[in-house]
């Protein structure tokens, strides 16, 4: 991360393009948080690239005064992989959504995560297809009555955090669009993480799916429902800390009263190499309508793909010498024809 003599500000990361999300969209809050955070982290606009796919969230790069690539549906992690492999000097971010990243681009997402390419993936989850005007998405709750599901959706939704953990992502977190403080902390940790980082951001679509995350955002309800994961802290929540997370005998988690939990309260440790506990935490809530964990589920160190790839190149150069084209062409059996 670049040392920074001239302190940059939000303005340096804000492009001159008019932002064209619907008024009241959760994307505005995320954009403002990112624009404010990056200069604080010492990021440089010229060394920052935002790559996106298709969807409302994927317009994000146009509003950042950095390098940007608004690609095609679902493919942002693939583009970002090619860029990150060849340009380790850059900070490469992927902006995607629940349709883009989990449906049409699901394959690229899981492979970028398992490879541990040095890219930061922000998945704006609004549980709806916004840009195509309101079809249900892979994260919409079962029974969602939307344009394409007048009688209710019949396919079970995907839990993005479970999926990322299943792909053995080295950094997995969840935050909320309008919780600027929490989102900033999570994004900073993602930025500092060496390797692929996956952040699910609950993002309200006030036009097609308003209130999907009300349980976590409404001042009356949020303290009852936000299970904040903090490294090294026992996992307890509720206005009075009256609820606690404990492990069942089979390894799954459940919520009990703090009193009843006693010393069985799970102490959060995102640095565990074994992802089972993080996965069990992710299964506490399938849809964010009740108590739901937010924060960093997993943050472990593993070899980073692009570095391993470059090491092989360097090893080949060291072992065999820089490639000489003439030698290559004449490798194998050669013979001379004289006139």
């Amino acid at each position: 991360m670049t040392s920074n003599e001239n302190q940059l500000t939000k303005k340096d990361f804000t492009s001159d393009r008019e932002v064209r999300w619907c008024p009241g969209c959760g994307d505005y809050a995320i954009l403002a948080t990112v624009q404010t955070l990056l200069p604080k982290l010492g990021a440089r606009p010229e060394s920052t690239v935002f790559v996106s796919g298709i969807g409302c969230s994927s317009r994000f790069p146009y509003y950042m005064d950095t390098y940007g690539f608004h690609s095609i549906h679902g493919r942002a992690p693939a583009l970002a992989t090619g860029l990150a492999i060849t340009r380790p000097d850059l900070d490469v971010w992927v902006i995607t959504g629940d349709g883009d990243g989990l449906s049409i681009g699901g394959n690229h997402l899981i492979h970028a995560l398992r490879r541990n390419v040095n890219i930061k993936i922000l998945l704006f989850n609004n549980e709806i297809y916004g840009l195509t005007k309101g079809q249900y998405s892979p994260t919409s709750p079962l029974g969602s009555v939307k344009k394409s599901t007048p009688m209710g959706s019949i396919d079970r939704p995907m839990n993005p955090v479970s999926l990322a953990l299943g792909a053995e992502a080295t950094f997995v977190a969840r935050s909320i669009d309008t919780d600027r403080q929490h989102l900033s902390e999570v994004l900073e940790a993602a930025y500092q993480h060496d390797g692929a980082a996956f952040v699910e951001i609950y993002q309200n679509c006030n036009v097609f799916n308003d209130g999907a995350f009300i349980a976590l955002k409404d001042p009356e309800q949020r303290d009852h429902n936000q299970i904040r994961l903090v490294d090294g802290e026992p996992i307890i929540f509720g206005p009075e800390g009256e609820h606690a997370v404990v492990a069942r005998g089979d390894g799954s988690m459940k919520i009990v009263s703090t009193e009843k939990a006693g010393d069985r309260v799970v102490v959060h440790d995102p640095s565990k190499d074994e992802p089972t506990t993080a996965f069990a935490l992710a299964r506490l809530a399938h849809n964010p309508v009740g108590p739901t964990p937010i924060g960093i589920f997993r943050d472990v160190r593993r070899p980073v793909y692009d570095r391993l790839l470059r090491e092989q190149v360097e090893q080949a150069e060291a072992g065999q010498g820089d490639g000489a084209l003439e030698e290559l062409l004449a490798s194998g059996n050669v013979w001379d024809v004289v006139s």
């Binding site: 492009s15 393009r17 440089r44 606009p45 010229e46 060394s47 920052t48 690239v49 790559v51 298709i54 790069p61 146009y62 950042m64 005064d65 390098y67 940007g68 690539f69 608004h70 690609s71 095609i72 549906h73 493919r75 693939a78 583009l79 970002a80 992989t81 090619g82 860029l83 990150a84 492999i85 060849t86 340009r87 850059l90 394959n107 690229h108 492979h111 790839l309 092989q312 190149v313 090893q315 080949a316 150069e317 072992g319 065999q320 010498g321 820089d322 490639g323 084209l325 003439e326 290559l328 062409l329 004449a330 490798s331 194998g332 059996n333 050669v334 013979w335 001379d336 024809v337 006139s339």
Partner: protein
């Protein structure tokens, strides 16, 4: 196999041949490709001109002994300049009844058959579909047949190693391809020392297998030498090739080397993102061995990710390349449109195979021409370059890179299954004489900032290339993407006039590329031809051979082979219009013919075969004769 008898050595007659065609055929597990490869190396070292045609099933191991499992390798070698792997073999080595069943019909009348009689069991005959034993029912009367118990001879040659426990019988039997190779080497007066050296290297870690294979090879040679069954042996003198240093090369290898050369000569790091697919995977294998050239190879999770990664790498300033075959290119189509829209240089290689769908994965076809030109949504023109021979894949790759870098555009490079796997001698180029691609482009700098603004879609007035502004450059921050761009600024634009203008600009770029192409070469030794044979891609060899044959018969025929399918050379229309009759053979149903008819309004005569095999020269000569001089249809 025109011949002159020149000598008599040790009771044997040495027959001088101008050229010969040998086909090895056996089960997929019989090592026919390997035997063929080694015989090719021997021929190359003997100084012959040569061309090969490996032909193998898509199944890795189809059931042993069945027709589906037959794998073959054909080699044409000559003391003359040759262009094809030969139409009909002079010698067929058949390792089992299925190989005989499948390939006997191709053999020249009077040709030589070497049979592994050990494999002619009742069960194998049944599997091959023989009701009677072909050795006994007259099937082979028109041929010179040598029944050799190749398996038994092999095991006998390795008895000592078996007794010492170095090998089991099965491992010993597996060396029978080397025994067959040794015998054929003897037949064609070829020393086997190079093959011995190769075996020692190949089995360096298993010296007992090296010993076994070498013993089998020598046993085969000695069998020819000592058995009286073989009255003749043959010699094909060296060809008079242009002076220079030569090696054998397959199309996939030459294409890989061409990409490396393009990287070296452009001083750009090569990024190769690809997903395994027949017959393109060898390029991935080859390049992944060449990391010392600073090459990053990336085996992506799918075809779309492969080209996606290449677009990302190109955005970052690498020479990005992906390769696939038709089915994979179909998956890449949307991303290719993105590459057109974002005007980034890259190469998309299509090693064509038989289609549609999975089609014929290991066979050749030219049926993806329209796919290369048109299979994208919207108007998305991009340059298409076609390689014409295995060695030409090297030059075609460099040409594709030149166009991509100069005009800042994705380029499709067409090869096919025949070029990919076939080999021919290649005269090594002078590396310093290769195009200096570093002059083809420069990265944008802050000098490109005008009035405090950087315009990522401001074009070079001549090439229409837009600036290649790499992330990491302060002041040039900009956004690209798939939505229509405003001319100059590159901002999103839905303006009707702007879209019309940008569409026409993307087409105009093709015209600018055509402006720079060299004049089309017309091959017409007589200078009086009134029939023109056109072609593109891997048909060059067969067409050249067919034209040669027709000229020998007194026909005056001209040949033009088209490297640039898009844009087409500007002089092509006038050339086509200047002939009485124009014939265009293709391994598709007439795709380029349809395009050229539309462009030139000339009634071009297509000739089409879609059999998964390259044209045979003789068949092509007949077709050209009929279409060029026969009654108009």
């Amino acid at each position: 196999m025109s011949s002159t008898v020149t000598g008599d050595t040790g009771g044997r007659t040495t027959v001088q041949l101008s050229s010969a065609v040998v086909r090895f055929a056996g089960d997929s597990g019989d090592g026919m490709q390997l035997a063929g490869d080694q015989f090719t190396s021997q021929s190359a070292l003997a100084g012959n001109d040569l061309a090969t045609l490996p032909d193998f099933p898509a199944e890795i191991r189809a059931p042993a002994g069945t027709l589906a499992g037959v794998s073959s390798f054909q080699l044409h070698f000559s003391d003359q300049d040759i262009h094809t792997p030969g139409d009909a073999p002079d010698v067929l080595v058949a390792m089992n009844p299925a190989a005989l069943m499948k390939h006997l019909a191709a053999l020249k009348s009077g040709g030589t058959v070497i049979l592994n009689t050990d494999a002619f069991t009742k069960r194998n005959l049944q599997k091959a579909g023989y009701e009677e034993d072909p050795r006994e029912d007259g099937t082979l009367t028109d041929y010179q047949t040598h029944e050799v118990d190749l398996t038994t001879l092999t095991v006998r040659a390795l008895e000592e190693q078996i007794e010492q426990g170095e090998l089991n019988k099965k491992e010993a039997e597996r060396c029978k391809n080397m025994l067959a190779l040794g015998l054929v080497s003897w037949m064609f007066s070829r020393p086997v020392e190079e093959t011995v050296a190769w075996l020692e290297q190949k089995f360096a870690k298993r010296p007992e297998l090296a010993r076994a294979n070498i013993s089998a090879l020598r046993a085969g040679w000695n069998y020819g030498e000592t058995t009286e069954a073989f009255v003749f042996h043959y010699e094909v003198k060296e060809a008079r090739l242009a002076p220079g240093r030569y090696r054998n090369i397959t199309g996939n290898q030459a294409l890989s080397y061409g990409l490396v050369a393009a990287s070296v000569r452009s001083k750009l790091p090569l990024f190769y993102g690809s997903y395994p697919i027949t017959p393109a995977s060898d390029i991935l294998h080859e390049l992944s061995q060449l990391k010392r050239f600073g090459i990053a190879t990336f085996q992506a999770e799918d075809e779309i990710a492969a080209i996606g990664s290449v677009i990302g790498a190109a955005f970052g300033g690498s020479l990005g390349v992906t390769a696939s075959s038709g089915p994979g290119i179909a998956l890449k189509a949307e991303a290719m449109g993105l590459a057109v829209m974002t005007e980034l240089p890259m190469i998309i290689v299509n090693v064509q195979r038989g289609g549609p769908s999975t089609g014929l994965p290991t066979k050749t076809e030219q049926s993806d021409l329209f796919q290369a030109l048109y299979a994208r949504n919207g108007e998305a023109p991009l340059p298409v370059v076609a390689a014409a021979s295995p060695a030409d894949c090297f030059d075609a790759a460099i040409e594709a890179a030149r166009i991509a870098l100069t005009y800042r555009t994705p380029v499709v490079l067409l090869s096919d299954g025949y070029l990919a796997n076939s080999a021919e001698p290649w005269r090594l180029p002078d590396v310093d004489g290769l195009p200096d691609l570093s002059q083809a482009f420069s990265f944008a700098t802050d000098a490109d900032i005008k009035d405090g603004e950087f315009l990522p879609y401001l074009r070079d007035p001549q090439t229409l290339a837009r600036p290649w502004a790499l992330p990491g450059t302060p002041g040039l921050e900009h956004r690209v993407g798939g939505i229509e761009k405003e001319a100059g600024t590159g901002h999103i634009s839905y303006e009707p006039e702007n879209h019309h203008r940008m569409t026409m600009l993307r087409h105009e770029r093709m015209t600018r590329i055509a402006d720079d192409l060299a004049a089309t070469q017309v091959d017409d030794p007589s200078g009086e031809a009134d029939v023109l044979v056109l072609g593109w891609g891997s048909t060059q060899g067969p067409i050249r051979a067919a034209c040669h044959e027709l000229r020998e018969q007194g026909r005056k025929v001209a040949q033009v082979h088209i490297r640039h399918i898009n844009p087409l050379p500007k002089d092509l229309t006038d050339i086509i219009r200047s002939y009485r009759r124009v014939v265009l053979p293709e391994n598709n149903t007439g795709q380029l013919a349809m395009l050229l008819r539309a462009r030139t309004l000339v009634d071009i005569q297509p000739y089409n075969r879609i059999s998964g095999q390259p044209f045979a020269a003789g068949e092509l000569a007949d077709a050209i004769e009929t279409l060029g001089w026969g009654e108009p249809s």
